[in-house]
Amino acid sequence: MTDTTYLNIKSTKLHTYDAIVVGSGISGGWAAKELTEKGLKVLLIERGQRHDHIKDYKTASQDPWEFGHGGMTTQTQKSDYPVIHRGWAAQEAVMDAWVNEKDCPYSEIKPFTWWRSYRMGGRSVIWGRQSYRLSDLDFEANVKEGIAVDWPIRYKDLAPWYDVVEKFIGVSGTKQGLPHLPDGQFQPGMDLNIVEKEIAKKIGTHYKNSRHLFIGRVANLTSDLPGRSKCQYRNRCWEGCPYGGYFSTQSSTLPAALATGNLHIVTGAIAKQILYDKDNKKATGVEILDTEDNKTYEFKSKIIFVCASALNSTWLMMNSATDVWPEGLGSSSGELGHNVMDHHYNLGASGKMDGFEEFYTYGRRPNGFYIPRFVNLNGDKRSYLRGFGYQGSASREEWQRDVAELGIGVDLKNMLTTPGQWQIGSTGFGEILPHHDNKIMLDKRLYDKDGNITTDTNSGKPKTDKWGLPILAMDAELRENELNMRKDIVEEMKQMFENAGVKDVNIWDAGHNMGHGIHEMGTARMGLDPKTSVLNGWNQVWDAPNVFVTDGACMTSSASQNPSLTYMALTARAADYAVSELKKQNL
């Protein structure tokens, strides 16, 4: 990396690039890599601070006793990060990863859990790494069922790009030959443990091979790649991996982009608006806000890739070209901000497995099993549309087991220092239908000084973030289809476990706020018609064809598979198209 890679905004002279990429996460990193490798001079804009590979993973090699609070968070952190404390992400090792919620508020017209990481690499550093392809079952669902709008692409359009992405990032997994969960370019899959293998076998037998349990397809290496070592089975991925054992922007796409010499990066810079030339009907660049001194700067480019994470990409468009479209760039269809999706989860089943006491596990596998969708498939028909998958694992009880009801002393200590019974648990991930009324918007309501909504235009002011920028208001919820599916998710898992010999099966459903799945999708969907969609089949904004939106915002439906792999494939495909169109002088 050269010293000039990271720009000092205040003293920089170079303000013109071939391409600007907004956001350095999973999608933005891919856009930067593809565009620089194809010869473009690229500026990558990141609102958070620099977070260098290995050097800045400050807890990654600490032992448990170096943490101070045994992994728990403090009252101060609870106060600063109330949304993060709604779930499992509030853990001592990763609190620095999350955005300060006081600086960056949002409004919840309906409960919405938004987990944000504003720093170099974004959520690519802390993602769950499960990597599955969508199939035509997913791409054709909307049009076949008359839901929302049709996807403008099919599996064959994306398949070659899934190949490119999987080979480059390294996805370990096993081929299953399932048409609705296409196989890919896999490194050797990790192992199921002995209990998971037994349950996989029994589920296969009981359901006559119509249901499948296999090792998760995960962006952790089982073979070395250039500059990256294979997974060391520490299961501390989200602190950053000193071995580069899993895909993140830092471990994978950023080094490739830097190697071209074509990349400049600016951090601490919020993309405030896309600059739009209404005469030529094209974007001309991006106005950024320096988070240190609140000053704004303009950068010009021929094309722009918006990869700020689904809801922030839409926020950026809502703040752009408002002199032409009051609701922002891309709003002419009336769909910008609408059709928010996620995967609903926070429910599942768990139980105990007798026997296997002569077996344990060695190593901490950062992966579990996957059970792909089996409902509304191959003749199966349910009372709701679409489906769900499951993720889980089996393990022996260790010292973290519930001790509230146990005694104290030598017996307790002996119990906690030896492995207990095998247990298994599984969590469902369900598809959420795109619904026009599930939406986000700029919060233009007026608030008085106590934070209450008011109609008094003299004293009331809109809520803003630390830098005086407008904030998002979320108005989305699970609807009938999802709620019906949830009953089935827990019941089917219970039955599968019981049919596989699991004992004392408990079901649980802790409810699901939108966003809690950390798979925000939609709000700038792709489509075939500019009247009903924001983006075309190449992820171009219909109203500004030199602007490409390739993160989760573009999704036309959610499928039930973890979505990040699809964003990467869509980004690589769009970048290839953008460069060829640039060469033809069509952009």
Partner: protein
Amino acid sequence: MDRRTIIKQISILTGAAFVGGQIFIQSGCKTDGQTTKALLTNDQIALLDEIGETILPQTDSPGAKSTNIGAFMHKMVTDCYSTEEQRIFIEGLENIKQRFETKYSTSFISANADQKTAFLNNVNTEAIAFRKAKKYEDPEHYFVMMKQLTILGYFTSEIGATKALNYIAVPGKYDGSYPYKKGDKAWASS
């Protein structure tokens, strides 16, 4: 640790949510601010060392006192507990001290291990009964707090992780059918 870990934590979730942890509880959190004055006295911390040692005593590996469990509990209660949880914890600690002295006419610290164990077993029985009667959202019994903190502090300490358990920082591989002999130690982290 990531979202799969919630499977591992199910037993904790369905049993006693970790006090101060707020896991899965979607209520707002009050700010209690940092106290400048130490919450516990040195005598109270010394008493917590003895309580911790009684919960997880020395066996073929050192007990909780060897890890300065009292200081760990003090830090956790100060930094991670709400004001209400702090009050319950401190009152509970004083309760143990007073009741023990009334019953045995000696201080907890200077009593023998059998007396300590017998007494805290009774407190533990009270805590279990208390939990059965309480509503889910009600605060935990102070002895559940002490037990949780002792276990967390001990097994994440260097002594607990490396002497009472088996700790390997970099396993390097995964074996899902690793042979196990009864009595072999469990892993410190997984």
